[in-house]
Symmetry: C2
Subunit: 222 residues, 2 copies
C-alpha cells in the first residue's frame, strides 16, 4: 500500500489560528489576561509562575495551564499553592496547540479568573508558530544558556512582548555579555521589554510585577 503524502504545514497553522482566535474571544468575554510563557527547558518558567503567584495572588485571581511532554511535576507545585491548574501532556508533541488549550479552558472556572498563565513546552523553536489565544507572549532566556541564543533561535526573540533574562544570580560565575545580548534582542525586536531577574533571589522581579499589573489594568479597561 502506498501512502499519499500531502504537505499539511500551512493548513495545520491555519486551523490552529482559527482555534486560537476562538480561545481569544472566549477569554476576552471573561476579561481574562492570558500570558503564553515560552523558553528552553529549565530556563525558569515554573519558578517565574510560582514567584508571581505568591506576589500577585492578593491582587488578581490566577489560574495556570501547564504544558509538558510528560509528567505533572510542575502542575503539582502550582496546585500546592491552591491555584486552579490544568496539566496538558502532549505525549511527545514539542509545543502546545490552540485545541489543547481549548480543552483545558473547559475545565477551568473561567468566571473566577483574571490572570491566566499558559506554560508552554520547553522548546525555543516550535511553540512560537502556534498561537494559543493569548494576549501577550513572554519568553525566558537564562544566563547559563549563553548570550548567543538570539542568533540561534531568532524567531522566538523577534515575536515576544517581554524577555525575562533569568538566573542573574549566576552572573559572577558565567561569561555572559548582558549588553551584547540586549543589543541583539532589540535588533530583532525593537519593541521588546527586557527584564533581568533572578527567580531564585527575587532580584528584578518588581519590574516584571509592575508590567503585569499594568497589563491587567489595560485588560480591564478594554
Amino acid at each position: 500500500m502506498t501512502v499519499k503524502v500531502i504537505t499539511v504545514g500551512e493548513d495545520i497553522l491555519g486551523a490552529n489560528e482559527a482555534k486560537a482566535s476562538a480561545n481569544r474571544k472566549r477569554l476576552d468575554k471573561y476579561g481574562i489576561l492570558t500570558i503564553n510563557i515560552m523558553s528552553a527547558p529549565g530556563a525558569g518558567k515554573t519558578s517565574l509562575i510560582l514567584s508571581t503567584i505568591k506576589h500577585m495572588r492578593e491582587k488578581a485571581k490566577i489560574a495556570v495551564i501547564e504544558g509538558d511532554v510528560a509528567s505533572s511535576v510542575d502542575a503539582e507545585k502550582v496546585n500546592e499553592l491552591g491555584i486552579p491548574v490544568i496539566q496538558i501532556n502532549t505525549a511527545g508533541g514539542c509545543h502546545l496547540e490552540a485545541n489543547m488549550v481549548e480543552k483545558a479552558l473547559n475545565d477551568l472556572p473561567l468566571g473566577d479568573i483574571e490572570l491566566l498563565f499558559i506554560e508552554n513546552v520547553g522548546n525555543l523553536i516550535c511553540p512560537n508558530a502556534f498561537a494559543l489565544g493569548e494576549d501577550r507572549r513572554i519568553m525566558i532566556s537564562s544566563l547559563p544558556e549563553g548570550d548567543d541564543k538570539p542568533y540561534k533561535y531568532p524567531a522566538m526573540f523577534a515575536d515576544t512582548d517581554v524577555v525575562l533574562l533569568n538566573k542573574t544570580d549566576l552572573e559572577p560565575y558565567l561569561d555572559f555579555n548582558t549588553n551584547g545580548f540586549k543589543k541583539v534582542v532589540t535588533g530583532l525586536n525593537p519593541d521588546v521589554t527586557i527584564f533581568p531577574v533572578s527567580c531564585k533571589t527575587g532580584a528584578g522581579l518588581e519590574a516584571w510585577f509592575a508590567w503585569l499589573e499594568s497589563a491587567l489594568k489595560g485588560k480591564k479597561n478594554k
Copy 2:
C-alpha cells in the same frame, strides 16, 4: 478549496529510517565513528565538541556537522580550529533529519575522517525520533536546567548511550540533586553511562575521552 489532511507521521519516520540506514552504510564503508549529540539549547554541545577536538585531534581525524535553526556561529568556532565542518540550517525545523545529513556528507572528505560529530538542533524532544545514521547517541544535560529534566523529557534520556552532566563548576550555586538525577536516568535507561563534566574547567572530561577512544577502537576492529 478544502485540503484533505492525511496523518503522515509514521510515513515520515519510515522514510527517515531508510535514509539513516543508507547514511550508516556509507559511514561504515569509510570506518567513520559517528556521534549524534543532542541537548537543550545552551547545555554545552559546541563547548564539548571544541574541548574534544583539542584533546583528540592528534589521535583521530575529526569532522563536524553543525545543525541549527539559524546562524553559523558554532561552525565558525569549529572552522577556526582547522577542522572540516558543514553547517546545516534547518530554517525553522526543530531537529536534524537523515536527508539533511546525507547532503552534508556529500560535502565532507569522507576518506579522511575517523570521527564525525553531528551537533543536533538544541531541543530535548524531536531530535530523538530521527535517526541520522549515527553509531552512538549522546546527550548533554546541564546542571542549571534542573534535576527534573529526565521526568519531563524521558524519551531522550531513555534512548541515549551516554549522558554528559555538564556545568558541574556551577554546582555550589545550584540546588541540583546529582544522585537523584542519576537514579531517575538509570531507571529510564539501565545501560546508560553518565559522566559529570565541566566543559569550562575540563573537570571529568578524561572519562569522556576514554569512552570515545574505546568506541573508536571498537569501530576500527569491526
